[in-house]
């Protein structure tokens, strides 16, 4: 009766049997890690937990590389276009004929690319944590959570069914919740993890409703058939969803915008970004993995996954690009003012994701116009590398001086040479300096924007300038600026285990740009030659350099220029420093409106009105019976009177009235 274990074998054959199982192993290995560590970690794997988890993840990383190689170079292509292959799929929950949640694996360029990114970064973080988290009391728990996260993230990127994606989406959210709250005894951490979960949950509400609409009109939850049905302009599904409209906007647009809200929540886009900076309460490697490289780009991935459908609705795409560009600029501005290094990085992440989003927004579906899509994916890829690198570097800095505040830092280049170099590389990469990875991806994004929409292009340009400024502000004030006065004994850098990931990542950040990305990941699967114009890249690079030199001028040596400038733009600086008071706004909404205006009245109503009515009925009964007791006066003659009254009453009633 149920279709469990009725795995579609054709897919597996198309890959060759062993590859099919390899594919299954990729997510299952981290899951195994999660379960075994979660159940037995405390007892049996107290010390070896890290090694164990790392080995598992290394295996799955290797497998995913294997798969990627196989997909891109062996059997992925069919007459020049990369195919969407579904090697494994089974029905998980059947709602109604045609409408069911299927769990499966969908292989296409972006999912394969994400596979590699996720497993690789996760592996790096695992290794890094071996040293960074050493001696933590809940060491096994930490690794089991990492395993859970990796599993869910992999499930997310390989999802073949929109509801499957939603499922793993939630799981990713909860594992991020658990990891942010890892230091459970810090109230700030607890607050942060709650905030992160609730805000993303709120966004997921939009996602869920979007899914409901799509499923209703599309009549399916399966990505391929959904896309197929909703992109062919003459299919009945498309006609109905495009014609059905609510307050003048077509159901399609509603659905897509709602889905995008979900994505915006996860990807910390304006105005749902407020959780991301607080999420930095988590251990730094976690921030590197979840809140820089992988989870936060899930939103981008979602839009990319549904991109064909998005491209059917102008409005939806516009929303995407506008939100994207706003977040990019907004975050960049705030980043310039923050003093907590992790927060700066967080805002820069938000800004970079903004880049990816608007680049998706300005992209078209097929051929040349699809440049934006490729660019976004490319940037996602490179950003993952250098942002992870930045965070891990920041991690080793924090590990060294036990503080996140810039003012405690400075002149660390002597003490942390490797960190210094790698961090520099990452900064160059993110601020788009050739020949580092960021340069190429950002070029493509700007190019796509330029072709499509001038305003977005100019804003983006300015933003990239700002990017390089705040990144180097960070760099200089950590490694140069004032001399570092070592108090107490100075232990060196974390050692090889912590340095190896940095080095590997920095290699990636340096070299990844030369990958001809357009050959692999494109909107329509066909190969896309990214035409590369030297004269075009002058402006961004120049702006980048400008940013870097300003930062150097302000922060290389200790001086009062920053303060004077801050004073010169006093009010605006304050505004930016306080993140434009968005947190306060949210606080107001939740505390004042949700709790005081809805929650309290509801509780009051229940306590007094509903419950009161029940009690009132009881009391009134008792009251009446108290009032009635006079009849039973104890006087036998009164009894007789009532008796005769009864007789006469009955007689009169039934003789004259009620015949």
């Amino acid at each position: 009766m149920n279709e469990f274990l009725q795995i579609k074998l054709l897919g597996i054959f198309s890959l060759g049997m062993n590859l099919g199982w390899a594919l299954l192993m990729i997510p299952l290995l981290p899951l195994l890690g999660f379960l075994s560590l979660g159940l037995f970690g405390k007892k049996y794997l107290k010390q070896s937990a890290g090694i164990f988890a790392t080995l598992l993840l290394a295996a799955s990383a290797f497998l995913s590389l294997h798969i990627a190689y196989g997909y891109f170079f062996k059997y992925g292509k069919l007459e020049g276009a990369y195919q969407k292959i579904i090697p494994i799929q089974f029905t998980w929950l059947q709602f109604s004929p045609g409408l069911s949640i299927d769990l499966g694996i969908l292989l296409d360029p972006i999912s394969v690319m994400m596979l590699v990114v996720v497993t690789f970064i996760s592996l790096m973080v695992h290794i890094y944590s071996l040293a960074y988290m050493k001696g933590e009391e809940r060491y096994p728990t930490y690794y089991s959570f990492l395993g859970l996260f990796t599993f869910s993230m992999l499930g997310l990127v390989m999802a073949s069914n929109i509801f499957q994606l939603y499922i793993f989406w939630e799981l990713v959210g909860v594992s991020s919740f658990l990891l942010i709250g890892y230091y459970y005894d810090r109230p700030s951490a607890v607050a942060a993890c709650k905030k992160a979960f609730i805000i993303t949950r709120f966004a997921d509400l939009g996602f869920l409703i979007g899914i409901l609409i799509l499923s209703f009109y599309g009549g399916t939850l399966d990505f391929n058939s959904l896309i197929e049905k909703l992109t062919s302009t003459n299919s009945t599904e498309f006609k109905t969803i495009a014609s059905a409209s609510f307050v003048g906007i077509s159901a399609l647009t509603w659905a897509l915008v709602l889905v995008f809200i979900g994505g915006a929540g996860k990807s910390a886009l304006f105005p749902l970004h407020v959780w991301l900076p607080d999420a930095m309460e988590g251990p730094t490697p976690v921030s590197a993995l979840i809140h820089a490289a992988t989870m936060v780009v899930a939103g981008v991935f979602l839009v990319a996954r549904l991109f064909p459908v998005f491209s059917m609705s102008e409005v939806a795409l516009k929303v995407v690009s506008i939100i994207g560009i706003i977040s990019a600029l907004f975050a960049a501005v705030i980043a310039c003012t923050q003093t907590d290094i992790k927060r700066v990085l967080a805002y820069s992440t938000m800004s970079q994701i903004g880049f990816m989003m608007f680049s998706l927004g300005v992209s078209g579906q097929a051929g040349e116009s699809g440049l934006g899509f490729t660019a976004a994916m490319f940037h996602l890829f490179t950003h993952a590398l250098f942002k992870a690198l930045l965070f891990l570097g920041a991690g080793s800095v924090i590990h060294f001086i036990h503080s996140n505040e810039m003012k405690d830092m400075g002149g660390l280049r002597k003490y942390l040479p490797i960190t210094h170099i790698t961090f520099l590389i990452a900064c160059l990469a993110i601020s788009g300096m050739p020949p580092f990875a960021g340069f190429f991806s950002k070029e493509e994004i700007l190019l796509a924007a330029y072709h499509h929409n001038a305003t977005i292009y100019w804003i983006a340009l300015a933003t990239s300038g700002l990017t390089s400024f705040y990144m180097f502000r960070l760099y200089f004030s950590i490694f140069w600026n004032k001399e570092y006065i070592a108090h107490g004994e100075v232990h060196g850098e974390g050692g090889f285990v912590m340095m190896m990931p940095l080095i590997l990542l920095s290699l990636g950040a340096a070299a990844a740009g030369f990958i001809p990305f357009g050959h692999f990941v494109t909107a329509d699967g066909n190969l896309l030659e990214s035409a590369f114009h030297l004269q075009f890249s002058i402006a961004p690079v120049a702006l980048g350099l400008l940013g870097i030199f300003t930062a150097m001028w302000m922060y290389k040596k200790q001086n009062n220029r920053p303060d004077t400038i801050a004073h010169s733009m006093n009010s605006f600086y304050k505004l930016a420093y306080h993140k434009f008071y968005l947190d306060e706004l949210y606080l107001f909404v939740t505390k004042k409106i949700l709790f005081n205006l809805i929650g309290k009245p509801a509780a009051w109503f229940d306590k007094n009105v509903v419950n009161g009515l029940v009690n009132a009925t009881g009391n009134s009964t008792v009251f009446i019976s108290e009032k009635m007791k006079g009849f039973q006066s104890g006087k036998v003659q009164q009894y007789a009177i009532y008796f005769l009254a009864g007789v006469i009453g009955l007689a009169v009633l039934f003789i004259y009235i009620w015949k």
């Binding site: 009766m1 149920n2 279709e3 469990f4 405390k42 029905t91 998980w92 929950l93 059947q94 709602f95 109604s96 409408l99 949640i101 509801f163 939603y166 499922i167 793993f168 939630e170 799981l171 909860v174 709250g181 459970y184 005894d185 109230p187 607890v190 993890c193 709650k194 979960f197 609730i198 949950r201 709120f202 997921d204 509400l205 869920l208 409703i209 409901l212 499923s215 209703f216 939740t590 949700l594 709790f595 809805i598 929650g599 309290k600 509801a602 509780a603 109503f605 229940d606 509903v610 419950n611 029940v614 009881g618």
Partner: protein, 492 residues
């Protein structure tokens, strides 16, 4: 298999308990009885699946019919379909867990376990009876044990709570009684037999009168919006096992009745009042959730959240689509397991900290990792995390509700969806304040769960996860039965 076993076994257990001398013997015999029930339920489940797999498509399986009060056309008619089997499984899970968690009840142990077993007897009988008279009989059997459980072993303002519960539930069953009599005399032949009634055409007028009576009557049991006030007080003053049974089993009696009796037998009535049901249940969902946000006492939190969650059951029924009804049943099962587990955990915490005020606790992860882990699991289940049962049930309800294309249903569905956010808010508040944060020094010496508590928790978690990661078995169990009901409602 013979369904009377499901009634005889608890009866036997009760007798054995009566004969036992020491409290230890009582506990063990109760545990053995409960485990026997558990095994029996599993056997029932698998034999049922086998029958269906063999293609036995008759609506009710394992039917038996004995003569009982023939002059009133009453007969002791038993039989199960997928929905009943699901509910029986749920009952078995909760019963064994309840017996386990109340292992250290020292006051009047014998009476305590006797009442627990009687409660389970009532529940089983209710779920397998195909004759409305015995259905009502078992429905009322289950009321008084609750009253005594709360009144004798309860805490807080227990007399008040017990009275309120007994009276409101009796009021509900009084309405049910009137409705049943309406059915009895309304049809073209006087009978209480469910299947016969489902065959005959009940006049619209009768349906219009009797449907609300029956629905509200059963609704009182499952916390239909304005009649839910027994839930918070009852649950919060009941002993742990008491609240587990109350929320896990007896609130489900109502939902089952609403579905099996009211909706199935009176489709026109159902269609007539569907919108009112939807409105009420949507109110219950949101209002319960918001009321929960304001609670400080863990038991109150779970009680109000039960109001909210049972709203989904009624919403699913009110939506009148196959998927939604299946979802409603799944939600019953899921909520039963989940809330029982939640109360079990609260009980464990209370036994150790001697408080249920969330803001007097904190950082309990440090001293009781197992219990807090269970708390996390159950909390996440109640806020609908995939991989746990809550998600499956709620999503099915949403999917089913969304199949009604008109704006009214859409708005109701979206409103219901909103509750997932509010749920997240209050659950995280509760968990955050109990398990996380800095620990209070006076809790540093507390012990983690003992074997019986662990066992109970594991059993329930097993149920939750079994539904959560492999919902298709429950779906296959429930959907055909829901289909039958829907066909009747759709008038085919």
């Amino acid at each position: 298999m013979n369904l009377t076993l499901l009634i005889l076994l608890p009866l036997l257990t009760a007798v054995v308990i009566l004969l036992m001398r020491s409290s230890v013997q009582v506990k063990w015999s109760a545990l053995i009885g409960a485990s026997a029930q558990f095994i029996l339920a599993l056997i029932l489940f698998f034999t049922f699946r086998k029958e269906r797999a063999l293609g036995n498509a008759s609506q009710m399986l394992f039917e038996i019919q004995y003569k009982w009060f023939p002059s009133w056309h009453i007969s002791f008619h038993l039989g199960v379909d997928g929905i009943s089997v699901a509910m029986i499984l749920l009952t078995a899970f909760v019963v064994i867990a309840g017996v386990l968690v109340s292992w250290n009840v020292e006051k009047m142990t014998k009476e305590f376990y006797l009442l627990l077993i009687l409660l389970s007897l009532g529940a089983y009988g209710f779920f397998i009876s195909l004759d409305l008279f015995i259905l009502f009989f078992f429905l009322e059997i289950a009321v008084i044990p609750k009253y005594l459980l709360i009144g004798i072993w309860g805490s807080g303002k227990k007399e008040y709570a017990a009275n309120k519960l007994a009276l409101m539930l009796m009021g509900g069953s009084a309405l049910v009684l009137v409705g049943l009599l309406g059915l009895y005399f309304g049809g073209n032949e006087n009978t209480f037999d469910l299947l016969l009634l489902s065959k005959m055409k009940i006049p619209i007028m009768v349906q219009k009168i009797c449907f609300p009576l029956l629905f509200v009557g059963f609704g009182v049991f499952t916390a239909l919006f304005p009649f839910h006030t027994w839930v918070p007080d009852g649950h919060s003053s009941a002993p742990t096992a008491g609240s587990m049974f109350l929320a896990g089993i007896s609130m489900k009696l109502g939902g089952y009745g609403c579905l099996r009796v009211a909706t199935y037998l009176m489709p026109e009535g159902a269609r007539e009042y569907a919108n009112i049901i939807i409105v009420l249940s949507t109110i219950a969902i949101l209002y319960g959730a918001f009321a929960t946000m304001m609670q400080k006492d863990l038991k109150y939190i779970n009680a109000y959240s039960s109001v909210s969650h049972c709203g989904f059951v009624l919403l699913g029924i009110g939506m009148l689509t196959k998927t939604a009804i299946a979802g409603a049943v799944m939600q019953m099962v899921s909520h039963g397991l989940m809330t029982a587990l939640f109360f079990a955990v609260i009980g464990m915490i209370y036994e150790r900290t001697h408080t249920r005020e969330v803001n007097e606790m904190g950082g309990l992860i440090k001293v009781m990792p197992f219990i807090t882990t269970v708390l996390f699991i159950v909390g996440l289940c109640s806020l609908g995390l995939p991989g746990l049962s809550g998600f499956v049930a709620e999503m099915t309800v949403f999917m089913g509700s969304w199949q009604n294309p008109d704006p009214f249903h859409r708005v109701a569905t979206i409103a219901a969806c909103m509750s997932i956010v509010v749920t997240a808010v209050y659950i995280l508040r509760a968990i955050g304040q109990t398990a996380m944060g800095p620990i209070n020094d006076r809790y540093l010496s507390l012990q983690d769960a003992k074997w019986n508590e662990k066992l109970a928790a594991i059993i329930l978690i097993a149920g939750i996860i079994a539904i959560g990661i492999a919902p298709f078995w429950l779906n296959d169990l429930v959907t055909p039965a829901a289909e039958v009901i829907m066909q009747k409602v759709a008038g085919k």
